[in-house]
């Protein structure tokens, strides 16, 4: 399986800018530096595409910077193009302002990935509060790993490396793990982090089971 990267093949439709933003609503965060609302953001807010900026996410401060719109044909039209462009460049920084503590599962995931992959960049986010699980859960995570150990590996092989490092957590409390893997060169070319799509409720009968 080919790895990441822009192929530059004009014969194929370019959908590089397509992200989960096409299927998701960006999560607003408190404690972020205020930014002037863009006309597009206002339009999307008016359409109900962006929730009011009153929700507080524990532990992370998300700073958005607008990136150029993706190029290439987009099947789904202008609205989806707006959503794609809103993904932008994302810079995550750990907030030390007491927004939340790191739980034991999150700490274990971070430690194990650092030991197994020696990453240059490791972004780990507990997304459990965005899902239908009790507060304080550590069941849904998103991780972005930049490591030279991914050189020459297909996306499937890279993800399996991450799974292998976290086998105990995945067999235990972790219900969902969204993974982005890049080599240092790929990260330099595209340091954009994906966001997860919104939770659709899961199965209430088996909530908490992966």
């Amino acid at each position: 399986m080919p790895g990441l990267g822009f192929r530059g093949d004009t014969a194929r439709p370019q959908t590089r800018s397509c992200t989960y933003a096409a299927f998701a609503v960006p999560s607003p965060l408190d404690n972020c530096p205020p930014r002037a609302p863009s006309s597009r953001a206002s339009a999307l807010r008016g359409l109900g595409r962006i929730p009011p900026t009153s929700h507080r996410r524990k532990g992370w401060c998300l700073r958005w910077r607008r990136a150029p719109c993706g190029s290439g044909p987009m099947l789904s039209g202008q609205l989806v193009r707006h959503l794609f462009s809103m993904a932008g460049r994302v810079c995550l920084s750990r907030s030390s302002a007491g927004l939340g503590t790191i739980g034991p599962v999150e700490a274990a995931i971070r430690t194990k990935l650092e030991q197994a992959l020696n990453p240059e960049v490791l972004e780990l986010r507990n997304e459990s509060d965005a899902h239908a699980v009790p507060p304080g859960s550590e069941t849904h995570f998103r991780v972005a790993v930049v490591s030279s150990r991914f050189e020459g590996l297909s996306p499937l092989q890279r993800h399996r490396l991450v799974h292998a490092a976290l086998s105990e957590e995945l067999a235990g409390p972790v219900h969902a793990l969204a993974i982005q893997t890049r080599t240092p060169a790929q990260w330099k070319e595209n340091p954009q982090l994906d966001m997860s799509p919104p939770c659709l409720g899961g199965n209430k009968k088996t909530r908490g089971t992966p």
Binding site: R12, P13, T15, S17, S76, P155, L156, P197, L200
Partner: protein
Amino acid sequence: MSGSLSRAAAALLRWGRGAGGGLRAPGVRAAGSGGDGGGRSAAQLDTLVKKDKVVVFLKGTPEQPQCGFSNAVVQILRLHGVRDYAAYNVLDDPQLRQGIKDYSNWPTIPQVYLNGEFVGGCDILLQMHQNGDLVEELKKLGIRSALLDEKKDQDSK
């Protein structure tokens, strides 16, 4: 803006016509009655994933996904105009849910199989969609991605 909206509408109409005149749901196939009582053996699952060119294991159904990641898989396939695929709802069958994870040695749902081969979850499918690999993989299966038609329309204008 009107141009892109009309192109999107035209794409949707072609999608409908390609189905034989109307919008219809993907070929959702149930994973058997489980009457044998033996759960989901590797052999059974092997047959299941090879029965159709495109097989996905989801939480929920394509019409009503119950997981954001499963929904993403459904939407990506929809964007490419893949309409005839087998979708199995693991929420209806706990044995299938665990069995498919053991079969693929992949701990999460959704799971995507192309031509009987495990491709990955929704993160990998999204990557393939982003870098154009999905179009090529579908082409190998004899499935022409709708995005190629969209590009052709744009090039001709």
